[in-house]
Amino acid sequence: MARETNPRLQKIKHLLQYVSLSIVILAVWQTLYHLGYIKPIILPPPSKIALTFWELLNSGAMAKHVGISVLRVLEGFGIAAVLGLSLGIAIGLSRTFDRLTDLIIQVIKPIPPIAWIPLAILWFGIGEKSKVYIIFLGAFFPIIINTIDGIRQTDHKFVEVARILEVPRFKFVRQVVIPGAFPAIMTGIRVGLMVAWMCVVAAELIAAGSGIGYLIMDARQLSQSDVVLVGMITIGIIGKLMDSLIKRLEKRLIGWKVSYVGD
């Protein structure tokens, strides 16, 4: 407020800063390639990556791969959301249920999705089911853990109010506990979706014939490092977009929260 600055100029400056480092890196990389310091087999130049990207876009292959991967992710994530939320709420509400499940959840949680691939194939075969299962595993734990936490963090002050007013448990859970857990649940949903998306590569290691993870792993078999990079960057960009989207949704859905904290 002290310095008198043109807000418009400021905005442009910020925007420039936002992209400048990326541009510098790309430029240096391209130059190093032209100077022969970077062998294209080790790291193809940005120009080549851009070209490959463009070709994949143009041929419609990229849209197909991304589309299939997104569908898989949504499917696995959807199941994880339903199960994670309902189990999370149940565990959050019942200490007994929590004690019963805690050990299993704690031990299964650190097992990475790729380690599940052999069992996934044995249990669900090599079709869509096993891929969805791998993605499900990735999304499930962030959702359930955050849901449990959210439920647990129910403000004790409201518990007292409900006790004094003899509010029936079900009404209390519906009107206070679950809405109160909502911000934590949203965080779980957001992290869960991100992890689900990150699991797509692992999932598509299973006998896939399409999908963005398949694109990368196939290109890897064929030593096409440009395609590998295009695949990686695509995952990165879509991941970022998903995250931004959910964050925006989150803000809109829990508008009361901002005001409440400042209350």
């Binding site: 087999i41 080790i42 052999p118 194939i121 044995l122 249990w123 669900f124 075969g125 090599i126 079709g127 299973i206 006998a207 014939g209 792993m217 890897r220 078999q221 064929l222 030593s223």
Partner: protein, 299 residues
Amino acid sequence: FANEIRIATQPSPFCASILIAKHKGWLEEELAKVGAKPAIKWTSFAAGPPMNESFAAGQQDIGILGDTPAIIGKAAGIDTRIIGITASGPRSLAVIVPTKSGIKSPRELKGKKVGVVKGSYAHHLLVLVLQKGGLTTNDIELINLSQADIATAITSGNIDAAAVWEPLITKLESQGAVRVLADGTGIKKGVLVIVASNDFVTRNREQTKAFIRAYQRGAKFIKANPKEAARLTAADFNLPPEQLVKVLAKLDFHPAIQADDIEELKKSEAFMRSASLIKAPVSIDNFADTRLARESGIR
């Protein structure tokens, strides 16, 4: 009759024969001759081990894979039998070194980093090649890598040599990146097999035979028209037809199991036991069902 046959393949030229039968529609023709009209479900696996998992899950009826993964699967308790030989070709598997490498003989592999897919038939070849140079796997640094990573690792100089199979040999050779130090000639026949789940064979013996006949037609076609065969299947293997022709020339497609195939399989099995790749022995005589091909009228 089963109303579905599930066939597992790999994106590798040794599957050329069955894929030609697929493209030409011969499998359906042969099945129709025995009065069956099943749906055919094709699945391509990156390697033998995941195909084994799929067989274990009861999701495949017939599959094409190397002899070693087939034996591993059998040893692990997957209920399958060998119904035929996919192909053999001593020159289709080799120990390769970078073109500029100083290694001229197997003996010089001593102390070197050698990449191989552990438990693959190239692993067996490597042991045999080392034997020729008076070495064992203890004399080298054995590095377990997938074929894809071997290609990367050998071109970027991360490993000194590798035991691999086609089409990687031809691919890397044509790039001028590697040369062959030793191939299977005289030491390993390089047998790949067709396995089928026992359950499928017992219930659908006629269809199994029809499959073998279709396979044989594909095999004959490759011998007669290698260029046409290469053109037909190049897309399946993501390989330029010129290179594929070279690879196909190294492979002998012959579904009927011969006596020397049995010998070869027995050697493989012995090797795998000695390398602790399998815990329980596998009886090759029981595993390989030589009658099916004979009953199909193929020798």
